[in-house]
């Protein structure tokens, strides 16, 4: 074969095509976020003009024309509180599931259970919402909320309100159930990604399975597991349907979450609930869009915090699985 033949076959067109396509795809992400931000900004402009920062810090909510007042604070708090309670319930359980799947489960049941976990992540939230509304809240009220209220209601303000079933805690627990599949599926992948040689280092020293997990796997996977939890938190913050059906949908100052059994509301829920009633020419519509803008910032803030936490955890000691 002559050398000329080889040289002539080269064609560099595809390299430029590859570069341009990939760059366009990358730019698309940026374009989307800018468009969303711009649209939310322009549609909510009126409410920022009228209320200013008080829209964020206020707690009154009155859409009646002439007596209008809009404050987002109870819903921001509702979103954060329900998401954080959900996270506190879901993280230990999810890491437990991931531990079982990666460390303990025999191969034969590992695959089916992993499949079921991923299947649960794909169940639409309306299904969780319906189940929560018709089944779970009744059982939960009778078996957990009422006994807790009877026992602790007079002593601890968090248990003060008479349980009704549609409240902050019910919404949080169902949220937790909804984010468990996400967190455990990602956590499982992260635990499985810990190199065998790390485990063997601990086994070699005479460690039991638990000790191997504690001294070798967990520190190595820590930042990845935080990442998995943040992924769940992100899902919880934006979750709309199931929360709307379960949180009680209070408005105004009484929606500010001060107890587990209190009717609350979240940013996503109030938008979903009241959108139909909002006239585009009143202040009501810009107020709801403004809530959407705040929700975007809350999500953004959580992501930034997550990255900072992960960077701090990984910087302290290099190595380990970084980020998500």
């Amino acid at each position: 074969m002559s050398r000329d033949l080889l040289a002539k076959k080269r064609n560099f067109h595809w390299d430029s095509v590859f570069k341009i396509t990939a760059t366009c795809a990358g730019a698309f992400v940026l374009l989307i976020i800018v468009l969303i931000f711009g649209q939310l900004m322009s549609d909510s402009w009126l409410i920022w003009e009228k209320e200013g920062l008080e829209f964020v810090t206020g707690d009154r909510w009155n859409p009646v024309e002439g007596r209008e007042a809009f404050g987002a604070l109870p819903y921001i708090a509702g979103t954060l509180v329900t998401s954080l309670i959900a996270l506190c319930i879901a993280v230990p359980l999810s890491i437990g599931i991931a531990m079982f799947l990666s460390e303990i489960a025999p191969t034969r049941i590992r695959e089916p259970i992993s499949f079921i976990v991923e299947l649960l992540a794909a169940v639409p939230s309306i299904i969780y919402g319906l189940w929560g509304l018709f089944t779970f809240r009744i059982i939960f009220k009778d078996w957990f909320e009422s006994p807790m209220h009877d026992a602790l209601g007079e002593h601890i303000f968090l248990f003060r309100d008479a349980p009704f079933g549609l409240d902050i805690l019910t919404a949080s627990v169902v949220l937790a159930i909804m984010i468990i599949p996400t967190i455990s599926a990602v956590s499982r992948e992260i635990l499985l990604a810990v190199p065998a040689i790390q485990r063997e280092a601990a086994y070699m020293l005479g460690a039991t399975k638990w000790e191997v997990f504690r001294m070798s796997v967990l520190p190595y996977a820590k930042s990845g597991l935080i990442g998995a939890s943040i992924l769940g938190l992100g899902r919880a913050v934006g979750e709309t349907m199931a929360v709307t059906m379960l949180i009680g949908n209070a408005v105004g100052p009484k929606a500010f979450p001060l107890g587990f059994f209190q009717q609350g509301n979240s940013l996503a829920s109030i938008i979903a609930n009241e959108f139909n009633e909002a006239s585009p020419v009143s202040m009501y519509f810009p107020a709801l869009i403004g809530l959407g803008l705040i929700l975007l910032f809350v999500s953004l803030g959580i992501n930034v915090c997550a990255h900072l936490i992960i960077r701090r955890v990984t910087n302290a000691h290099e190595g380990g699985i970084k980020g998500f």
Partner: protein
């Protein structure tokens, strides 16, 4: 000072049987080795299969005490598999089946009464790639095995850690920065840290799986020096791809091929005057 540390370690070992000599008849061992009476590890009819596929077949070997035994052979010949049977690492590999006996100080490692977790404590292992615990400091890495086995006293820990790091020839380089993360060390230092970590639990046998293969020549020279020093106190079994290394550090060499132990003899004999042609071809670099 020295006694304190040793007392604790002896206490750690309490409850384990004291070493007993075995009076097994010499078999499959060349004549010139039969005279050497002190064997630490006896491997008898050992075979390992992964999911039914044989990786090593019917291996018999007597490994002398306080000496370095090297396992050489082309990739996939089963030398790492053989090494990992000795501390029952294959218990962790799915589909691995082990048959035969490995007798250390008169006790069959694969006996039903042996707890593999306690067994591994008695056998140190150094891996191909340095694998310090990345989130731990140098001090914590060496302390890890001791803490796991119940040593809590800070003074005793400090003593054993110093001893172990000295034995691994790392002490001088790290004595002022024991609190630094282990991963801040260079690759060669990390590997010596891993040796120190293995030595800290006072193993009876030290297994090394190509301990210098991921290191540059200077770092691997240091590891070799460490190995030569360590054999005064330990029975060392080392898997290596590097025949020069086997020649430099080992007293005995076993040549493995396709799961068989083709020849096992004094290192000098294996390299200068092997019995089998296959061995001769391999050590002269004609294949592998």
């Amino acid at each position: 000072m020295e006694m304190n540390a040793l007392d604790v370690l002896n206490a750690m070992k309490k409850g384990e049987k004291s070493p007993t000599k075995t009076n097994e008849p010499e078999k499959n061992i060349p004549n010139d080795m039969a005279s050497d009476s002190k064997y630490k590890v006896l491997i008898e009819d050992l075979a390992v299969a992964y999911n039914g596929k044989k990786a090593i077949k019917n291996i018999n070997m007597k490994i002398p005490d306080k000496a370095v035994t090297a396992l050489i052979g082309p990739s996939g010949c089963g030398k790492t598999t053989l090494l990992r049977t000795i501390n029952r690492m294959h218990d962790l590999t799915k589909g691995a089946e082990v048959s035969g006996k490995i007798i250390i100080d008169g006790e069959n490692v694969y006996d039903a009464s042996i707890n593999p977790i306690l067994q591994r404590r008695k056998i140190g292992m150094v891996f191909q790639k340095p694998n310090p615990f990345p989130t731990m400091s140098i001090w914590d890495n060496v302390a890890a095995g001791l803490k796991l086995n119940g040593v809590k006293d800070k003074n005793i820990l400090n003593e054993i850690i110093e001893d172990s790091l000295k034995m691994a020839y790392l002490w001088e380089e790290v004595k002022d920065e024991l609190k630094k993360p282990a991963v801040a060390l260079s690759g060669g230092q990390q590997q010596r840290l891993c040796i120190a970590r293995a030595l800290a639990i006072q193993p009876e046998v030290l297994l090394m799986d190509e301990p210098a293969s991921a290191l540059d020549p200077i770092a691997s020279q240091k590891i070799e020096q460490t190995i030569i020093e360590l054999k005064k106190h330990y029975t060392i079994i080392i898997v290596t791809h590097n025949m020069q290394q086997a020649l430099r550090v080992s007293d005995r060499t076993g040549f493995m091929y396709l799961g068989d132990l083709v020849e096992y003899d004094k290192t000098e004999k294996i390299f200068k005057n092997p019995e089998k042609e296959l061995t001769a071809n391999y050590v002269q670099g004609r294949f592998g």
